[in-house]
Structures are given as structure tokens and as C-alpha cells.
Subunit: 161 residues, 2 copies
């Protein structure tokens, strides 16, 4: 049991620590949060490393959709001990992965009052998805959005080469 | 399996990130590494939180030594999936906990050449021990030393009140 909470505690501390020293606390609507990109980068490298360790040799990834299904199942279970709740696609390179009870948002109260705090708890995981995809041979852009806590949607866009 | 490596990957990234932005890279022999105390503080808070979650209600801690044994067994297994290799004490408030193959040092090559890099991989865990002890009602000073990688000794000193 402690394994799971260990990751969650460490993630919480990491977010708190980065925000405590963020030199750009109020960048405005068009601004960039340096801490968000730092977290995303850490997630990317952890995702790359995890992608190499997951038991993908047992699977044949013939299509992009198979890779996304693998992330929703194996990666999510490895990190969060649960599967993603749904996966939708427009069959043109855009995928929406929905977690109805995203563990890193659960410590926050449900509802709308902490919604503006949500992005800092999503950046690491966006990077994690992007990093795992990169290891599996797919370059992507991953963003996340929250309409109501703790439901979270990750959008993966894979540009056509 | 991924749980364990997840914590280790995240710890590695955290150390790398803190060192990338450390404003005090070469403090000299008497200097303080801000990043070390940041890591120690993060470890302390994670240790506090873990200490509250570990199944200590099944144990009766009548003596200080029992608490230390609990850390060597339950806490270490929860975090590193192994027990501490030895515990020694002078029966006057000083305890030496030895891990002959400390997981967070294993990625480094064995031997002496990376010895000076070791402290940054120990600070978080020193804090973790201090935080767990604090939750269990004991204030302490925890330091770590490495004579040869990957063997690591943690010294816990509990001042007599």
C-alpha cells in the first residue's frame, strides 16, 4: 500500500516545492509557468523510463490506437493502480483519455473552488504520457483539462507526418 | 513492479532538477547546500505522512529501540521493498542503521569515483527517517555516510530530554 501513497506524497511535495520557488507566480492569461514546464519535463523523462520497463513485448502494436489502449491500461495501472475510464478518438490523430477519479486530484475538495489549482497537479502526468509515447515511437502533444474535480481529460494529439 | 521504479525514477528526477537550479553549486567545506535541505525537508514531510499510514497499531512501542526496529523493517519495506541490513546502538540514544545495498545509490557505479555525488541521493531519505520518527513521537538528528558504494549508514541521534 505504501508504494502508491509514496508516489502521491512525493508528487505533492514536488509540486509544493516548485511553487514555493517559482519566480513567476502570476504570469497572467498568456504567460508561461516555468514550474509547469519543469514538471512536464520530469514527467516526460519518468514516462520514457517507465515505457522501457512496461511489458510491451507481449503486445503487438500494429496501430496507433493499440498504443493508446496500452497506456490507458498498463501504464495507468502501473502508476495509479487503476485503468483509465474511457478512451475516445476522432480517428485523425486526436485521442481523449478520461479518468473520472484522477488520483492526483483526489486530495483536493471536489467541486469548482480549487479548479484553478488543478493545472499544477496535471503537468507531470501530461509529461508522463508524452514520454511513454515517445519511447513507443510516437511524438505527441499532450494537454489536460478539468471541468469538475476529480474528473480529468487528457488530450493526446499525434501530428501526421 | 512499476511502483518501485516509479519512486526511484521520480527521486532521481527530483535530485537532478534541484541541482540544475541550485544557486550555490560550490559552497566549500563549511557551506550549506540549499538543495540538500530542500530534499531533507521533502523527505521529512513524506516520512511524517508515511509514519501515519504504516500499520503501527499492531505493535506496542515500549522502547525507543522498538521504534527503530519498526523503521528498519516496516518503513524500509514500504519504501524500498527490502529490510535494513543491520541496526546497532550504543544504548545512549545513538543508532546506526546500515543498508548494504541502498537502492537509491545502486544506479551509480560501485567504488569510489562517484562518492562525492552520494550526499544528494541520501538527503531525502535522512528526512524520511526523521519525519517518520517525528510522527512516532521522537525528535532526532539523522545523518548518512557512505564509505563505499552502495553501502550506506544512517546515524540517528536522539537527544535525551
Amino acid at each position: 500500500m505504501a508504494d502508491t501513497v509514496l508516489f502521491e506524497f512525493l508528487h505533492t511535495e514536488m509540486v509544493a516545492e516548485l511553487w514555493a520557488h517559482d519566480p513567476d507566480p502570476d504570469p497572467g492569461p498568456g504567460g508561461q509557468k516555468m514550474s509547469l514546464s519543469v514538471l512536464e519535463g520530469m514527467g516526460f523523462r519518468v514516462g520514457q523510463a517507465l515505457g522501457e520497463r512496461l511489458p510491451r513485448e507481449t503486445l503487438a502494436f500494429r496501430e496507433e490506437l493499440d498504443v493508446l489502449k496500452f497506456l490507458c491500461k498498463d501504464l495507468w495501472v502501473a502508476v495509479f493502480q487503476k485503468q483509465m475510464d474511457s478512451l475516445r478518438t476522432n480517428h485523425q490523430g486526436t485521442y481523449v483519455l478520461q479518468d473520472n477519479s484522477f488520483p492526483l486530484l483526489l486530495p483536493m475538495a471536489s467541486g469548482l473552488q480549487y479548479l484553478e489549482e488543478a493545472p499544477k497537479f496535471l503537468a507531470f502526468t501530461c509529461g508522463l504520457l508524452r514520454g511513454a509515447l515517445y519511447t513507443l515511437g510516437i511524438e505527441s502533444v499532450v494537454t489536460a483539462s478539468v471541468a469538475a474535480l476529480p474528473v480529468c481529460k487528457f488530450q493526446v494529439v499525434i501530428p501526421k507526418s
